[in-house]
């Protein structure tokens, strides 16, 4: 139910990562952390303080970091690599493809500062293509949690799963709404079961979708709201359950319109249950400098944009 999701305050998803990294490190001595000169940004210091020998500082050399992680994983370690999402994916795509994914190494690629909400640093650092790149890689699990608690839970869950994972999170403080204990890779969280329109959101935009859903419900529109933290493997059953009831869908992501969550959902629907769909996503452009909230609004990812997309798709459904 929508009213069950109350923000317990704002915290950054990357802080959830840092806390959980320390906790999985304490629980499992095979867990290691690697960083390419962004320890403070990735919130890795607590892990380093407690397990200094299990931390590898590679310097500003991301390709080498991914390769070292593959070697560590070959020997049975569980390496978590940390840098910005931009340098975790595009910069090292080939290393991920060959040394990690094709070689089926148990490497956890942990990527902070994803998307527009990185803010003032601007488009050089605001990657909006990473979900697309990573979901194209065979065998890669792609997870984009929505808040501090869900990032914390995801960071722990991936240690228990054998295989390459891309874990995407962000920089800003963000409303914390989820439980920090429940997390199942590949299992969508149904936040509300409605009948008029399905809204499927991932990452930070779950909050915008939740606010939009509340506004829509206040207008008498019944919303089926899904928090889809795992984009690959995608919970097709949950999506089809929802859309078979509402007959239309809005997808919301802090990512390009091409290749991300929206396309993943469209793929499922095209093969199983073709339905009107609207995308809340960046429309094939780069970002720019600015504060996170202003950027989300300028690029069409705000709460009002989710509402407008829902109204539009309802109209198309007829």
């Amino acid at each position: 139910m929508l009213q069950d999701y109350i923000s317990s305050g704002s915290k950054a998803t990357r802080d959830g990562f840092g806390e959980a990294l320390y906790e999985v490190g304490a629980q499992n001595e095979n867990v290691m952390a690697l960083c390419a000169d962004l320890v403070a940004s990735l919130k890795m210091q607590k892990f380093i303080d407690h397990f200094p020998t299990r931390f590898v500082q590679t310097g500003i050399a991301e390709a080498n970091m991914i390769g070292i992680a593959a070697g560590l994983a070959t020997a049975g370690k569980i390496p978590y690599t940390g840098t910005f999402a931009n340098f975790s994916t595009g910069r090292v795509y080939d290393q991920i493809r060959q040394s990690v994914a094709y070689s089926h190494k148990n490497v956890k690629i942990c990527a902070s500062h994803a998307g527009l909400t990185l803010g003032e640093d601007g488009a050089t650092h605001q990657i909006l293509e990473d979900i697309g790149m990573m979901r194209m890689v065979p065998g890669m699990t792609v997870i984009n949690p929505c808040d501090f608690n869900q990032t914390k839970a995801a960071t722990k869950a991936i240690a228990e799963y054998y295989g390459p994972v891309y874990l995407r999170f962000g920089r800003p403080n963000w409303p914390n709404i989820m439980s920090d204990t429940k997390f199942e890779i590949g299992k969508a969280v149904i936040m509300n079961e409605g009948t008029d329109v399905t809204i499927i959101a991932t990452g930070h935009l779950v909050w915008n979708a939740l606010e939009a859903a509340r506004n829509l419900e206040a207008k008498g529109i019944s919303v089926y709201l899904i928090n889809i933290h795992t984009i690959k493997p995608l919970d097709e059953e949950a999506i089809l359950d929802a859309v078979s009831k509402t007959k239309c869908v809005v997808t919301c992501e802090e990512h390009q319109i091409n290749g991300g969550l929206g396309d993943a959902v469209a793929n499922v629907l095209a093969r199983n249950f073709p339905s009107p769909q609207e995308y809340v996503a960046v429309k094939d452009s780069f970002g720019e400098s600015g504060n996170p909230m202003d950027l989300l609004i300028k690029y069409g990812l705000g709460t009002a944009d989710v509402e407008a997309a829902a109204l539009k798709v309802l109209e198309r459904k007829g």
């Binding site: 020998t53 299990r54 590898v56 590679t58 310097g59 050399a61 390709a63 080498n64 970091m65 991914i66 390769g67 070292i68 992680a69 593959a70 070697g71 560590l72 994983a73 070959t74 020997a75 049975g76 370690k77 390496p79 080939d94 290393q95 493809r97 060959q98 040394s99 094709y102 070689s103 089926h104 190494k105």
Partner: protein, 281 residues
């Protein structure tokens, strides 16, 4: 210690295997493979303490990573001759539904391969990861890696070259196959490596040289020397000068055989220059 004569016999058979593999599928990279046959034979039949029953983690054994994966035929033959998988499987090289892929891969489960390689520049980093893990686990065995010389043009190599001395990765022995040739021509013309020894030394590596990488005696001697220098705070690199295509008379002295397979007549000619020492597959 294996007799040098025995090692030479194995290397000769490995060379026959290389030629027959690439001929069998009319593709592959015979030049660099032939040039490195002596090195691979020395590594697997004399230098490394390894277990052909194959365990991915390589705990308690020496381990080898091939970064320049295109010379896969020499590695496949060596692994098969060392008992990692049936020798007959070499006949499936580069063919559909084979474990013996064009470039080394773990995907089909071929014993002896621990990471895919082929896209160049990545293997040294992976070897460093394995070396770090061995140190953490108190495993005193060594990590070996081979790179090509053209491969040194990749940026990632230098990230790894800078990393290893800073972190005192002294259980790592890297060999560079200095055959001086790459697909587009001689390395000195395509992109010169300059003072290669000076480059590694100033990055902080112990540098050893093999003047003739097709002289089994020298290879074995220098690899033993490298082993004896491990554990002393520095990573070790061996600059090994080889002749691409060695010893086939029409394959040496050119980069033409980097990535081209011999036809029937050329195969017959080449095999005529190599005694069948251990029996063909």
């Amino acid at each position: 210690m294996a007799e040098i004569a025995e090692l030479k016999k194995i290397a000769t058979q490995v060379r026959r295997d290389i030629l027959r593999q690439v001929h069998g599928c009319a593709s592959g990279h015979p030049g660099g493979s032939l040039g490195c046959a002596d090195f691979f034979t020395a590594l697997y039949f004399e230098i490394m303490d390894h277990d052909p029953s194959f365990n991915m983690k390589a705990a308690g054994e020496d381990v080898f990573f091939l970064s320049n994966g295109h010379i896969s035929p020499v590695w496949y033959s060596t692994l098969a001759r060392a008992g990692y998988f049936p020798i007959a499987e070499l006949a499936t090289f580069r063919k559909l539904n084979s474990r013996v892929q064009g470039h080394p891969a773990t995907h089909e489960g071929l014993p002896g391969i621990r990471v895919a390689s082929g896209s160049l520049g990545q293997g040294l980093s992976v070897a460093i990861g394995m070396a770090i893990a061995k140190k953490l686990d108190g495993d005193d065995k060594l990590v070996f890696a081979l790179t090509g010389d053209g491969e040194l043009q990749e940026g990632q190599i230098w990230e790894a070259v800078m990393f290893a001395p800073h972190n005192k990765i002294d259980n790592l022995i890297v060999t560079v196959d200095l055959n001086g040739r790459q697909i587009d021509g001689d390395t000195k013309d395509v992109l010169s490596l300059g003072d290669i020894e000076g480059k590694w030394r100033t990055f902080g590596w112990e540098v050893l040289n093999i003047q003739d990488g097709n002289d089994m005696e020298e290879i074995v001697k220098v690899l033993h020397q490298a082993k004896s220098m491990s554990g002393q705070g520095k990573p070790i690199v061996i600059l090994m000068r080889t002749e691409m295509g060695y010893p086939i008379d029409f394959m040496v002295g050119t980069h033409k055989w980097h990535g081209a397979a011999p036809n029937d007549a050329q195969l017959e000619n080449a095999l005529g220059q190599l005694e069948e020492t251990l029996g063909d597959y």
